[in-house]
Symmetry: C2
DNA sequence: GGGTTACTTTACGCATCGGTAGATAAGGTG
DNA sequence: CACCTTATCTACCGATGCGTAAAGTAACCC
């Protein structure tokens, strides 16, 4: 059994991180409503009042989790996309790799963002985050195709949805790991997605309607 | 104030439908946890005990909503796909049309299924429903490409995710209606999706190492 | 050692909400 | 009209969980 925690005094910033990490873990497992502040306290190894000292109310704590994980995900994708003067297809592929890599390495954060918060008072915030990712995808696509952003917006939503669906399969289906084989799963998943949507996206004409032959 | 409802006696089946409809409406707006049984009762125009008489416990009521809406959606998509001896691409397109059509005409049901139930004790059931739709898509794709189902499963998840993303955009973005223009939105959305994923899916079969297994 | 303060323990207020018991009346039947 | 069945309502209980108050304890710094 683990030894009795000898009640260490820590700097407020360190404790704050502990509480936040515990909150992300508990929220990802139990969901917002299912998670109790007591559970967060136990997970963090502290008492309940401390959670309130460092994390604020339950809503504030959850919002903090949301923002931290969202910023992390967005930043990694953004930096992976690289400078705007590079080749758009390569940028898109790298961004997708970063996206899938973030999911596989930080599952809890993704779970909090995508599966636990779609309802309640945080639906708006989660949607805003999703929108930021979609905007990023739309920028990449618009730059690559030479098309105004309004035109590619629905396709950007489609692309992000496709990524979510593929990610969900990879994270939940036990046979998924066997299917992707060896190597970095993020690479395999990104290649899969590019194989599906790449050819179609390339056919979206700059000037006219979508090529739509049967 | 509105006229006091003079406490009409109704047949149990009629009341049961009233309660179920109210439950779908409230659950779609507030989510499972956010919805209270009192709210369902008010929406149905009855008192709370009646909700328990006709709907059972909150869990049972929610499960009933889930199953009814899921069956409706699955049945409409399945019947739209048509007989297995027809052309696979046309079947896929028709199935997608039926899918989008169901969303636009029965928004509340879709909301309950897709956005409110991803957490809590119903995550398993919602995932099972999603899986049934994915399986259906996988069957269509496997039939069209002449490939074992295990190989197309990730692509089926991708396709369904893409449809969800596009649907979410259409249902939430105020500018979406203007973008799709006149005509049945379901047709436009299905065509958009086929334009994005169609070419890519067609190239799946030859690239894989499929022929290795007997 | 002494002081500061991070931290714990314990207990409780309070609101919300699922669920139920007993009373009430609506409608059919003789 | 008397009366019985039962659909329906008003009022309530109990549990859960957020959030906090009060008082004591011990770790780090000088």
């Amino acid at each position: 059994m683990t030894s009795e925690a000898p009640r260490r005094r820590l700097a407020p910033e360190v404790r704050r991180l502990q509480v936040l990490d515990a909150a992300v873990a508990v929220f990802s497992e139990e969901g917002f409503h299912g998670a109790s502040m007591d559970a967060v306290a136990v997970r963090a190894g502290v008492s309940k009042p401390l959670v309130y000292v460092h994390g604020g109310s339950k809503d504030e704590l959850f919002a903090a989790c949301l923002h931290r994980e969202a910023d992390r995900l967005l930043r990694s994708v953004q930096s992976a996309a690289g400078a705007p003067d590079e080749e758009p297809p390569a940028r898109l592929r790298r961004a997708l790799r970063a996206f899938f890599h973030a999911l596989t390495t930080r599952r809890q954060g993704w779970t909090v963002l995508w599966r636990q918060a779609s309802t309640g008072p945080f639906a708006g915030e989660v949607d805003a985050l999703r929108r930021r990712i979609v905007e990023q995808a739309a920028d990449l696509m618009a730059g690559g195709l030479g098309v105004p952003r309004t035109r590619v917006l629905p396709y950007a939503h489609t692309l992000v949805g496709a990524a979510e669906g593929l990610a969900h399969w990879w994270l939940t289906d036990p046979e998924a790991a066997a299917t992707t084989g060896p190597g970095d799963p993020a690479d395999v998943l990104a290649d899969m997605l590019v194989a599906v949507v790449g050819p179609g996206l390339a056919t979206i004409a700059p000037s006219g309607a979508v090529s739509d032959e049967r």
